[in-house]
Amino acid sequence: MANAPLQVSEQPRWEDKVSVLDVLSDSAMQFVANVQEYSYLAAQSLTNLLGGPHYLRDLLDQMDDIGVGSLPIVLLTGFFIGVVMVLQTGSQFTRFGQSALTGDVVSIALVRELGPTLTGVFVAGRCAAGIASELGSMLVTEQVDAMRAMGTDPSRKLVTPRVLAAVLMQPLLTGLADFVGLLGGCAASVFSLRLSAVEFWTRAIDALEFGDIMQGMMKPVAFGFILATVGCYKGLTVSGGTQGVGRATTQAVVVSSVLIIISDAFLTKLALYLADKVF
């Protein structure tokens, strides 16, 4: 009744009650739908590379933002992770009079694992959040719709440049983090363990094999892909206005960091298998 807006509607029926099973099946379906949407967006970000138009200027902007913009945080943390690694492992080796082995352990741990993973998580914290909030704000202010209305595919203009930039920049950032981490380790060895810098570097370099470098450079490619696609997905599926943008930003960091750590386990197994069988 239009003229009686406050009239109480008929009694709710029993069927309207929501059971636990309904809630579980609804959230399971929602989860599957989200995974499907995410996979589609992630795949599209790559298939967009096959045909034009390409947005080179956006790619360079994103490479600057993700790559150069992340340098301070990556270098600073990389250096001190190297220092901490030496301090922690060095004290153990010193107990057995084998402090010279510190260089071996630190370089393998940094290049194989700590460099890629920690750089991945730090860049995810910075860039997945940035991407999600930027795209989310664009979505709620209708800029994404405006882009579509003007004949531009947002996945080409917004998603692909970010994903490609992260995939290209992440290995470079990781390489720098590894190097700076070894510098930090070297400094700590010299000042704390009284090793010579030459001894530390020689052992650190000698300990590395091709398989270690391959593993250390393969992971960041995947991590860059994960953090950028998750950031884009969370940004482009924002609902609920500016509050939703905040939520999406948090989720982007949490989800991409967790996915980076989980995928690290699988990538490590794969890399060890490849190092064993192929190289």
């Binding site: 704000s137 202010t141 405006a146 579509r148 004949g151 595919d153």
Partner: protein, 277 residues
Amino acid sequence: MVASVSMKPRESPAIEFNSVRIAFDEGDILRDISFRVMPRETLILLGETGTGKTLSLKLAAGLLKANSGSVHVLGKNLGEMSERDLLRFRREIGFVFQEGALFDSMTVAENVAYRLLEEKADPDVVEPQVREALRFVELEHTTELVPSELSGGMRRRVSIARALITRPPIVLYDSPTAGLDPVTSQTIITLILRLRDIYGVTALLATHRLQDGFALANFHFDQDSNRVLPTSKNGQSANSASSSTRFLVLRDGGIYFEGSPEQLAASNDAYLKRFLI
């Protein structure tokens, strides 16, 4: 209607909605909506917040697809077009979003030039066109500013300039005067009048302000005197704007009223009268 008047061959509608239904999680938003907008006609979509005005515009631009029914624009069935074809087709349509939806990361000139730059137009060709579009909205001096430096009214004027840069035959306006003071609203309406009367665009305009609709129905832009003049009642003005403006009132997902400004003004319906106050 005098039968002896020679009838022109009937034009096909620029926009045509046939039994359109669109639903979201919360239920049907639009149910069985059918209407037509003829070339050079202005259809005012009037309704309260949440009655599906913006959705109708987005359906007309192919930004959303109807759950059932069909939307034809310039003779093309948007529901049957792929996103790739739609992206190309949307260059025929100008869309003025509610808050302007200008790209924050670009300057005013880059925003206005966006479509031309996307089409890889020569910068030497683009620049004068951008200047002309900005002159049309009287914001020629803002080219190097970024959207955050503009006022709400200026943003919408830039948005109009951005929509008209490719001279689209159809322009969709989403509440172009919402949240603006009366003077700025008048400026925006004058721009819409000029766009209609100089370029002859077909317009679909969503609003909750009845005065916007009546202003479009009762005034026209006179190019000779460069002024906005009242349109005479018998429609004898140069462009017969009065006869080409119609109203469509949306309520509870359906069409509540469709007709001319005179019919709306003369209506005794209690709900419609609420808009007239």
